[in-house]
């Protein structure tokens, strides 16, 4: 947080969208801004009301190069946006560089993600040096539907405004049917079982012909975070490694090791990598593959080092599984890649996709 700036004294703030970018339909800008404020109102007593005709606490505008403040923008890329700490006048305002390409998706800079970060400044947060944090200075695309405010940011904003008195009503814990279309966060084997992670729960397939059990992740491993992002089993050492953000936890047998979590940078990732999308140890090649955006790294478990020939493009080595991998695991020498709702059975021997399946096919669907 800003030294000497304890944030807004009031809890009910107003915002005004002063102008629009031509890159996106106005309705999509409205939605991105509204959802970006919701990221913060979900975890604090703050409320954000949009006004149209008078000065708001938080004025939102798109501008290029020099624009009525001391921080001119710099053209495409580089600086994407900036915002000002809580105070009167320009305080709280957020400016977005019109020379960037703004989007609701991943081609260009996702307005929801950048706005959520900038509104952190508007509310009194400084930058974080936790690579998993929203308030980390550099941009990193995350599917907005998968976005969850990281713990570091929750702690920061609640140190200013406290927690939300009336907790956001969690959806009634309806046990989702295992047969609805499902997007897995991560999939791994574990001593002959298969675990499918999604949000705060996991589906446990104990044997090929048993029905999958549904559990809360924390009922198995209280120390593991929810919304994990990747996991793989390394049978040689009877361990499963679970990833979230720039950290990983090692599960030996069924116990999380005392020295967990560790930093992914210890494995040899560059600092520009801030999360792992999927991971699998391939028994055929005895290599562990880490999938990040449209690339993958190959890791040698014996030497505990990254293979220097990577990173490589996913499509160059695993053609047909798409540009981005959500989850992956191995079964009977075949790799099973998951994207949003599909599953690709891939043969590393034949170097091609051998079957296209529904993502929940293992859950007897």
């Amino acid at each position: 947080i800003f030294p000497g700036n304890s944030g807004w004294k009031k809890r009910d703030l107003t915002y005004r969208i002063v102008n629009y970018t031509p890159d996106m339909p106005a309705a999509e800008v409205d939605t991105a801004i509204q959802r970006a404020f919701q990221v913060w109102s979900d975890v604090t007593p703050l409320t954000f009301t949009r006004i149209y005709d008078s000065l708001a606490d938080i004025e939102i505008s798109f501008a290029a190069q020099v624009h009525n403040d001391y921080w001119p923008f710099d053209g495409p890329h580089g600086t994407l946006a900036h915002a000002f700490a809580p105070s009167n006048g320009i305080g709280g305002d957020a400016h977005f560089d019109e020379d960037e390409t703004w989007t609701s998706g991943s081609r260009g800079y996702n307005l929801f993600l950048v706005a959520a970060h900038e509104f952190g400044h508007s509310l009194g947060l400084f930058h974080s040096n936790d690579p998993s944090a929203l308030m980390y200075p550099t941009y990193h695309f995350i599917e907005p539907s998968e976005f969850h405010l990281p713990d570091d940011d929750v702690r920061g904003i609640q140190s200013l405004y406290g927690a939300r008195e009336v907790p956001v009503q969690p959806q009634p814990p309806s046990t989702p049917s295992s047969c609805k279309p499902i997007t897995f966060d991560a999939v791994t084997t574990l001593r002959g079982e298969i675990l499918f992670f999604t949000n705060k729960t996991l589906w446990r397939q104990i044997s090929p012909d048993s029905l999958a059990e549904h559990h809360l992740i924390k009922s198995f491993w209280p120390a593991l975070p929810n919304h994990i992002q990747a996991a793989y089993e390394y049978k040689e050492k009877d361990r499963v490694i679970v990833f979230k953000g720039a950290k990983y936890w090692v599960i030996n047998g069924y116990e999380i090791t005392k020295d967990s979590p560790k930093s992914i940078y210890d494995l040899g990732f560059p600092r520009t990598v801030r999360r792992i999308d999927a991971a699998v140890h391939d028994e055929n090649t005895d290599k562990t593959y880490f999938f990040v955006d449209d690339k993958f790294w190959s890791f040698d478990e014996e030497k505990q080092t990254m293979d220097s020939v990577t990173p490589k493009k996913i499509i160059d080595v695993f053609p047909g599984v798409g540009n981005r991998v959500h989850a992956v695991f191995q079964n009977d020498e075949l790799l099973y890649f998951f994207d949003a709702s599909r599953q690709y059975e891939f043969s590393t021997a034949k170097k091609r996709v051998t079957r296209l399946l529904k993502s929940n096919s293992w859950l007897k669907c």
């Binding site: 800003f2 030294p3 700036n5 921080w71 923008f73 890329h77 580089g78 600086t79 994407l80 946006a81 900036h82 915002a83 700490a85 560089d97 960037e100 800079y109 950048v114 970060h117 900038e118 400044h121 400084f126 930058h127 040096n129 690579p131 200075p137 550099t138 941009y139 940078y265 560059p270 600092r271 520009t272």
Partner: protein, 83 residues
């Protein structure tokens, strides 16, 4: 950094100087300072940036540091006073 730098090192140094001025309050307020002083301030600010991002703190413009500087980012400072 050595004066006799190749063209792209010169450009990297210029890019880095702009970056450090924006986000790490590097002061080059136009007053001619001794090269020695400028260089040490420059290296000091690089160390500060490398420390913030968890890079190896070398004080010099290595490739990891340049790669991090080239990441699209927020225009807010990372450390130092905020006015």
């Amino acid at each position: 950094f050595a004066a006799e730098t190749s063209q792209d090192n010169e450009e990297n140094a210029k890019f880095a100087e702009e970056y450090l001025k924006k986000y790490y309050n590097l002061k080059t307020d136009g007053v001619r300072q001794s090269r020695k002083k400028t260089t040490s301030q420059f290296s000091e600010k690089i160390r500060e940036m490398q420390n913030f991002f968890g890079l190896e703190v070398t004080g010099s413009l290595d490739s990891d540091t340049m790669e991090m500087m080239q990441q699209p980012r927020c225009g807010f400072v990372d450390v130092g006073e905020y006015s």
